[in-house]
Each structure stands twice: as C-alpha cells, then as structure tokens.
Symmetry: C2
Subunit: 229 residues, 2 copies
C-alpha cells in the first residue's frame, strides 16, 4: 500500500515541478514580449490561455484522490498538503504571467517611459529567480533557502514603489504617456503579486520540511505606507 | 470519534464564517473610506493589519490538525478540504481590502475624477454582494447560487475596463489627475482580484456540495482582449 502511495506521490511531484518550470518560463517570456512589444510572441503565449488552470486542476484532482484513498500521515500528509496548496500559488503566478502577455497584445505603441521599463525588467528577473530558487528549495527540502527567498520579496516591493513613482512623474510631464502609464501600473502590480505568491510557496516549503505553518509575509504593506508621491 | 470530529468541524465552520463576515465588512468600509478620503476610518481598519492573516492561519492549523488526527472520508473529507482552500481565498480578499485602506491613507487630496469613483463604488458593492451570497451558498450547500455568483464576476471585469478607460481619458485631459489616476488603477485592480477570489470560493462550494472540482473562471481574460483604448 505504501509503495503504491510513494509511486503516485512521485508522479504528483513531477507534475508539480513541471508546472513550476512552465510557469517560470512564461514569466520570463511574457515580460520580454511586453518590453519588446513583441505581439507575435505574446500571442503564442496566450494561444492556450487555460493551460495552467488545466494543469493545476489535474494536480489538485490527483492529490485529493490520493489523500482520500490513502489517508497519508505524518511527513506524507505534509507533502501532499503542500503540493495541494503550492499548486494553487503556481496557478495564480501562471495566470498573472498570462495577464502580462495579454497586456502586450493590447498595448499601443504610444509614448513610452524607458526608465519604468528598466524597473519592470529588473522586477521580472527578480521574481523569476526567486521562483526558480523556491522550486529548488522544494525539491531539496531546504527551509533556509525558502526563507531567504521570501525575504527577497521586500526588494520586489521596493521596485514596485519606484516604478510607480517614475510612471506618475512621467505622465505629469507628458500626458501622452497616460496610456503607457496605465499599462505599467498593471504590469508592476502583476509582478508584485507574483512576488507575494512566491512568498506563499516559501511558506509551504517550510511546512513540508518542518510541519510549521508560518507567515513569512510580514512586510506586506510596508511599501503602501512609506510611498512618497 | 465521529462525534468529536463533527463538534470540531462545527467550530471550524464557525471560525471560517466569522472570517468571511469580517472580510466582507472590511471591503465595504475600506472602499467607503477611500471614496470619502476618510483617513481616520482607514487608520482604524489597518490598525491590526495582520488580523486576517492571523485568523486564516488559525483556521488552517486547526483544519490540518483535524485532518491528520481524524482522517475524514467522503463528505467530511470534502468539507474539510473546502474549508482549507476557501480560507486562503478569504485571506487574500481580506488582504486586498487592507490594501484599499492603506491606499486611502496614502492618497493625496489632489484633482479627482468623480466618474471613476462612481464605478469604484459600484464595483465594491458588487463584490461585497457576491461574497455575502457565496457565504450563504456555502452554509446552505447551494451549488446553483455559487455558480450564479461566479458568473456575476463578468460584470466586475466589465466595470474594471470601464473605470480604466475613464481614468486614462481623465488624465489625458488633465495631467494634474495623474496621482489620483495611479491610485484608481490600484483600487480597481484590487476590486477585480477580489472578484476572482469570489469565483474561487464558488468553486469550493461546488466541490463541497458535489465532489466536482470545476473551473468557473472561464471568461478570465475576456476583458483584456476587448478593451478599447
């Protein structure tokens, strides 16, 4: 019985990791398409717009079935729960990156603000790195790495504030940049949310490893409080 | 054993519903504070900025403990899983409403765009209504009501597009409205995300009632595709 369970769990883990890798690539490509105004690439990315939802649903169904049939305990229980929960974070990250691709298709070649686009590129690189590291931490049960990545989200929040400030100043100087600016606000919010979901993933790595449910999101609203505009 | 389980489940359900009601009230008050520029009320709302995270963590801990100890099956299993999953959606809704309150504290009394604020009020009323109905559907195992509320999210998405269009036009006419406009973009995105989480909650009501894991979010990106600006 336990061997059947471990086989099934291994398959689940593979599905979960594949979803993570797909999602990570999508963030990278979607942001690149956005910065390059590459509508062709963006269209490829959204061609199967429900793929992450579908993949996540499959993992969730299989996880719930496994739980119901095998009633795992102790470490097995924690592993299964962490897959279930982390999958929904991966799905949201995937959906946010889909939204970045959609925004690429929609955005017009109006006046742009290059300084904002630099920050956007940096935010995207950062969340991508964090996600890759979290997936590594997940596989290696590396709680320390997970906590370090969760902390790194503060930098993403700071860049969010910075990008917003530059965008506002840009549009005040040049009202023609209003359309681009609206688009930037959406993109930076999406990237900032991706960062939040990476923090959630870190929490599930900690739970899987130690059994402890923690809140690593303690600085969540700091940036809302300190913004200078 | 089963009686102990049912007692514990009843307590969990009560905690879950209380969280739902608190979150619902917070959306209403935070949006009201934002529209009225009522920084005093907003400060009251964020005074305990982690309260939803804390309440959700408590529900999650108790749910996981119950699962690990009692190994529920069939309907009991589905109920417990749906509490676990729906709690994280309630928490996110709560956090989004916290962000609305923080934005109220931050926003300056600059030039405003009343037409956008009208749409914001309407969006807030709508997601609040949807949330209240979903909580009702949850208690009454009313799958039909849950599906109806999930569909209603399309209206929220439409209002999001409308508000964004008005805000862009407003700032093009009057660059002094750039600060208010940046703030509106954030608020409407938060309200739109709350709508998405209500759709997730609807999915967990369907799962709890029928055992079926469904994706009710099918129109998710429609509004990104059709926007006219």
């Amino acid at each position: 019985m336990h061997e059947v369970f471990l086989d099934e769990l291994k398959r689940l883990n593979t599905r979960f990791m594949n979803l993570g890798i797909d999602v990570s690539e999508q963030i990278d490509e979607a942001t690149q398409a956005y910065i390059d105004h590459d509508k062709k690439l963006a269209q490829d990315l959204v061609a199967d717009d429900k793929k992450f939802a579908r993949a996540a649903l499959k993992v969730e169904k299989k996880t719930l079935k496994l739980m119901a049939l095998q009633q795992p305990v102790a470490t097995d229980f924690r592993t299964v729960i962490s897959i279930l929960e982390a999958t929904s974070d991966l799905e949201r990250i995937g959906e946010n990156s889909m939204s970045i691709a959609w925004e690429t298709i929609r955005v017009k070649g109006n006046r742009r603000i290059p300084e904002v686009e630099e920050v956007i590129t940096s935010m995207s690189k950062k969340v991508n790195f964090m996600l890759d590291q979290i997936l590594k931490a997940y596989v290696q049960d590396d709680e320390e790495l997970a906590r370090t990545m969760a902390k790194k989200d503060d930098e993403v929040d700071e860049e969010f504030v910075k990008a917003r400030k530059i965008a506002i100043e840009g549009v005040q100087k040049d009202p023609e940049a209003a359309v681009a600016s609206a688009s930037y606000f959406m993109i930076i919010r999406l990237l900032e949310r991706i960062g939040d979901h990476v923090v959630n993933l870190a929490q599930w790595v900690v739970y899987k490893t130690s059994g402890e449910l923690v809140d690593l999101n303690s600085q969540h609203h700091k940036f809302d409080d300190n913004i200078d505009m």
